[in-house]
């Protein structure tokens, strides 16, 4: 058990180290020149300014030295300074992360809430109408472009019906609560601003539903496939032979075992949500990491891009680690291999 955990931890650490190298190489060997995009034409034609600028950002050092500096900075949480906001990248990221975490967590909960039961039902009533509806719904959910869905939802529920608030995290009539945790849904009640809390929750609904649709399809499909696989096992036949009720077989015997692949999917789904946020946040003017990533990418803010890619890669590695470990916990056979 401990050996398995230790080996997983070592692998994860090695992955993170290699990821830093890849990110560094991408940011430093590409032809795009941040100097030109940042300085503008006039300044870029003045060699003295360009040289001073390169020196200031360490762009004149040899490659390995820059990588060493980058790594050394990382050990004390220094991701460099964003060229556009002139602030440490780590500060930008910690400022924008809570909004994204709120959004993707709610989206994840919504997709689980609808995806799991739909998948179980589809497997229980295989080839019935509900199975076909589940299949069609999940395929459409996976196929619809997130940015387009976001536009449609905004146009219908905000522009046309007026049921939902517009883009942004809170309405313009609300004051943001004092920053304690950075999470709007936690800070607002802490400050006793319940109006702001409900307003923020209302603003969360549309973007998280848009985000949830694709993930929901994925979860439905996986749950259905896993349930069908489990239902063909011998122990289900035994349970049936014992005369157990259908409900007891489904919920007591089949579902717990079918959940294994769904746990693995949890990591994947979370990854999907993170990439989905780039598009969703851009449309909903959501002050989160997705929009920050997009804005940094467009103006070639390399420290910011490197920082965000690294942070997300680390999150990926951690999520995968958790998935691996929980898998081992749920199914002890995994560790023996």
């Amino acid at each position: 058990m401990w050996r398995y955990i230790a080996s997983r931890l070592v692998i994860a650490a090695a992955m993170v180290l290699l990821a830093t190298l890849i990110i560094f190489l991408i940011a430093n060997t590409v032809p795009g020149d941040p100097v030109l995009t940042q300085l503008g034409d006039v300044a870029a034609n003045n060699p003295a300014i360009v040289a001073a600028y390169r020196h200031k950002w360490g762009l004149d050092l040899p490659m390995w030295q820059r990588y060493w500096l980058f790594l050394r900075g990382l050990t004390h949480g220094d991701l460099g300074i964003s060229i556009s906001s002139q602030r440490p990248v780590i500060e930008d990221i910690t400022q924008y992360a809570p909004a994204t975490v709120e959004l993707s967590t709610l989206a994840f909960l919504i997709s689980l809430l609808f995806g799991l039961p739909l998948g179980v039902l589809a497997a229980m009533k295989r080839d019935s109408w509900i199975d076909h509806v589940a299949r069609a719904v999940s395929l459409v959910g996976v196929s619809a472009p997130t940015f387009w869905l976001a536009f449609i939802m905004l146009a219908v529920f905000y522009g046309w019906l007026g049921w939902a608030p517009g883009p942004g995290q809170i309405g313009s009539d609300q004051f943001p609560p004092p920053d304690v945790t950075g999470f709007m849904l936690i800070d607002a009640p802490l400050a006793g601003q319940w109006d702001t809390f409900w307003d923020a929750l209302a603003h969360l609904m549309l973007p998280s539903i848009v985000l949830a649709l694709a993930t929901m399809g994925l979860i439905t499909r996986t749950t259905r496939a896993a349930m069908l696989e489990t239902l063909s096992q011998d122990y289900i036949r035994v349970a049936r032979a014992k005369g157990l009720r259908r409900r007891a077989i489904m919920l007591g015997h089949a579902l717990p075992n079918a959940l294994l692949p769904v746990v693995t999917l949890g990591g994947l789904a979370y990854a999907q949500l993170l990439t989905g946020t780039v598009l969703t946040e851009t449309i909903f003017s959501w002050p989160g990491l997705g929009r920050y990533t997009f804005q940094s990418a467009v103006i070639l803010d390399f420290p910011a891009i490197m920082g965000i890619t690294l942070v997300v890669a680390v999150v990926y590695v951690i999520v995968n680690l958790i998935v691996d470990l929980s898998y081992a916990l749920l199914d002890p056979r995994v560790m023996r291999r």
Binding site: I26, A136, S143, A155, V298, I305, I308, T309, A313
Partner: protein, 299 residues
Amino acid sequence: MTSPASDPALTDAAMSALADVTVSTARRRWLRRYLLPAMGGTAILAWLLVAALAPWITPYMPDTVNVTGRLAGPSLAHWLGTDELGRDVLTRIIYGARTSLTVGFTVVLVGGGVGTLVGAVAAFARGWAEEILMRATDLMFCFPPIILAMAIAAALGIGTRNTVIAMLVVWWPKFARLARSVVVGQRSLEYVAAARTIGFPPIHILFRQILPNAVGPLVVLITLDLGNAILVFAGLSFLGLGVVPPTPEWGSMVSEGRELVAQWWVATFPGLAILTVVIGFNFVGDGLRDWLDPYARRR
């Protein structure tokens, strides 16, 4: 007393009624199983035709600006209305099919080919080569595809070719993983040992003996991925990291119309185009997967 069987007319009627019943259940079963894939296949074929015949389908050009007729709603002259520059939305969607389909096929076939090669060679070579190649693949899985593709696309500069390159960088790993797992399943089977004994060179064994047996799962992934690639490219274009502006492209068309809620047709129809083509590939891929999977086929 005549038994029903001895009456030829009655038997015939019974038989044909019986035949009708079986035909209709067979047809229903066929429909149930193949309706979605068939619909998907039709959608893909239709889009391929539209892309190929674009200049013959529409009387307009995709980049003809007509400022006086800008933002006109759907009408007989402009079935899907016009955009902010008075360009015909339907025409731009039709020409946009060329961009999307070309990019989709390029990314998936090239990226899938490279990935398959990496995975198959890794599984076949075993030892340290397999270890290195598969660790490299694992490493690529640490990065969220869209974010990495965004970073690369932004760094290379905006343009269709650069975006395709960026997508290729993030595209191969899943094919490598799948190809490896399929080849691992095949490599210790007897026909491979037999081919070795006969004295076939390793390259021949891998490409002519093993890979043909591994084609099924790869074809499913390719089909599902075509839709995915089109979706990702549209997303990058939507963010302004895809095509250069006058080029008609579905993702950037949605982006151009996203503030125009009253002129809903500008953004809605290009999105529907993406949806239909991606659903097409997903329906077909889904059907292929069922068809190739003996467990699913049993019933």
